[in-house]
Symmetry: C2
Subunit: 141 residues, 2 copies
DNA sequence: GTGTCTGCAAACGATTTGCAAATTA
DNA sequence: TAATTTGCAAATCGTTTGCAGACAC
């Protein structure tokens, strides 16, 4: 089902729908929780249609250029990617490393001096997720 | 003047005030507009007290750990650093690469589900600065 | 004097790239 | 068949690290 959806999306964007590109986009559609390159590569390694890491990199860059994905850099060594293009921010737990989507109000642009043209905005909050926060307070008590 | 200020700050933070650390912190205090490692290194290369790039890296990491600086990743290959620890966001011009400080209202936390503990937040807007935006519209007309 | 910091060069790790073989239309 | 894409391995580049000598206290 996602296979066909992925192929359809690629055709709409006028991106040649190769086996590898369909598989990678399908993976992103099924795993919207911000995978990294390594994660995509590992996940697809055991499939019959083997995909090299260079292809994962090139494909993800291509997708980003066409607006199918957004890079999400939380300060780790590598980058995460996000297929969800709706406006939302991210919460990054500095303890367990998990990333959550969070809502935020559209107020950034109203504070911008005139003349600036907005193309994209990112809101990133770092801290402790509920689980890690409670672990932490237990340790202290 | 900044020399003494830098030394003072280091002592307050209980960081051993070496010649290199004072020089690097002094540079950041004089250049708050988000320098990168390379920029700091190049700027201090002609000074009598030569500073290796490894030391710039180690020192900046040390400063960050002690809360003197914040890393600012706008998606370029390398990182920028910001000594201004007051709450503010950044505007990154994707055309000329310049970075501006911008204000934003504190509304992120109120949208956060309960249990999340905030340590830091970053607001990054990408787009065209007034200069590049007008250049761009001229080209189109 | 003793422990910490610096500089150098080598190591590292994520990402990109050149090119021949494979795949797509 | 012609043009594009893939896979591999090598290259790239920002950053980290090991270690001997230099410096701070």
């Amino acid at each position: 089902m996602n296979q066909q959806e992925a192929e359809q999306i690629l055709k709409e964007k006028h991106i040649q729908a190769t086996r590898q590109r369909i598989t990678i986009l399908e993976y992103f559609l099924e795993h919207k929780v911000h995978p990294g390159i390594e994660e995509v590569y590992e996940a697809l390694a055991d499939r019959p249609e083997k995909i090299s890491k260079a292809t994962v990199y090139n494909t993800v860059n291509l997708f980003e250029k066409h607006g199918l994905l957004k890079a999400l850099d939380v300060g780790e060594a590598y980058c995460h990617y996000d297929v969800d293009m709706d406006r939302h921010g991210h919460f990054h737990c500095v303890h367990c490393g998990k990333i959550w989507n969070i809502p935020y109000d559209p107020e950034v642009e109203k504070n911008l001096p005139p003349g600036f043209e907005v193309l994209d905005e990112q809101v990133l909050v770092k801290g402790l997720c509920p689980e890690c926060a409670s672990e932490n307070s237990e340790r202290l008590s």
